[in-house]
């Protein structure tokens, strides 16, 4: 029934509007009771106490883009998987096909998933999933305390 389904979404709409009203109401109350005494120091961008240099709006790493791309393709796969999961072991169809329906649905889906898993394998092998690992750089630190002192200390604590 179309009407029943739509009224169920009405409840969701109620949550949406209710949430917006709650936020607006809260902000309004806060606005009424809070002080407003801005000055230049307060309004500068926070950068751990330094004066900010330039703005934050600058170019970003390509990897973020690739992650979003991979995500969308998997998301589309999920879109197909959801209807599959709801009808996969459907009692009625099972009886109609003499129990073959589940097998067919499974095989079809395995084929679909494997095709997309190939995509993941491709990205993996080509190294798109590797993020740059931070490597220790700079000079090696030489401690004036010999290493043996540490092991002695640890031994003593035990």
């Amino acid at each position: 029934m179309i009407h029943g389904e739509v009224s169920e979404f009405g409840i969701i709409l109620l949550f949406l509007i209710g949430g917006i009203f709650f936020v607006a109401f809260g902000l309004l109350t806060a606005r009424l009771i809070r002080p407003k005494r801005p000055n230049i120091e307060k309004l500068t961008t926070y950068e751990s106490g330094e004066d900010p240099l330039g703005t934050a709006w600058s170019q970003f790493n390509t990897r973020f883009y690739i992650i979003a791309l991979v995500f969308i393709l998997f998301e589309v796969e999920l879109v197909f998987l959801f209807p599959w999961a709801t009808v996969y072991a459907d009692q009625e169809l099972m009886e109609l096909t003499g129990g073959k329906w589940g097998m067919i649905a499974l095989v079809e889906m395995v084929a679909f998933v494997i095709i997309l898993a190939l995509g993941l394998v491709y990205l993996w092998v080509k190294g798109f999933l590797n993020w740059e690992r931070p490597m220790p750089t700079g000079k090696q630190y030489y401690s004036p305390i010999p290493k043996i002192a540490y092991s002695k200390f640890i031994k003593r604590r035990k």
Partner: protein, 169 residues
């Protein structure tokens, strides 16, 4: 009930049109993305009113949660000028407006000519997820597997193009 649906429809339709117009005319790309989100959301609302809840949620999942994020990432990737909020100018304003108005004219003309009562049906719409699932696995199974293949090609291609940048670094 049907009155409420009509009201909701006009609400969503108005919202989608307003946000669409805002999206076109704003100069800040992030504002455009924001307007696009509202446009998608209200379109999803219209889908729900039409009884296509699965399509509506897919719209949310793929377009709002996915494509829009990709878009914003893409925009941030291509910031050329440091330190300026993202701005775009509009080009070919008059040509675009002319084509747009012409197209709306043709559309309105056609809408007025068609006898809509003949096209409309009163068939009940069943729960959409289940029927989509059944059709996907039986009638449209080849299309379905081909869609998987297409997704794979899209993934590989997109990664290849985007990866050219990483490799040269």
């Amino acid at each position: 009930m049907s009155d409420m649906i009509t009201i909701a429809f006009y609400l969503f339709a108005g919202l989608s049109i307003i946000s669409g117009i805002f999206m076109i005319f704003t100069k800040n790309i992030l504002y455009a993305a924001f307007a696009l989100m509202f446009c998608f959301l209200s379109l999803a609302g219209i889908y729900v009113l039409l009884g296509a809840d699965f399509v509506a949620i897919t719209q949310l999942l793929v377009y709002v949660g996915g494509v829009l994020v990709l878009l914003i990432f893409g925009v941030m990737l291509t910031v050329r000028v440091e330190g300026k909020s993202l701005q775009t100018g509009s080009h070919l304003k008059w040509g675009g407006a002319l084509i747009g108005i012409l197209w709306i004219g043709i559309l309105v003309q056609l809408i007025l000519q068609v006898d809509w009562t003949a096209v409309m049906t009163d068939q009940p719409i069943e729960a959409s997820v289940n029927s989509i699932g059944k059709l996907l696995l039986s009638k449209y199974v080849i299309v379905f597997e081909l869609a998987g293949l297409l997704l794979l090609i899209g993934l590989v291609g997109a990664a290849y193009i985007a990866g050219a940048k990483i490799r040269t670094k």
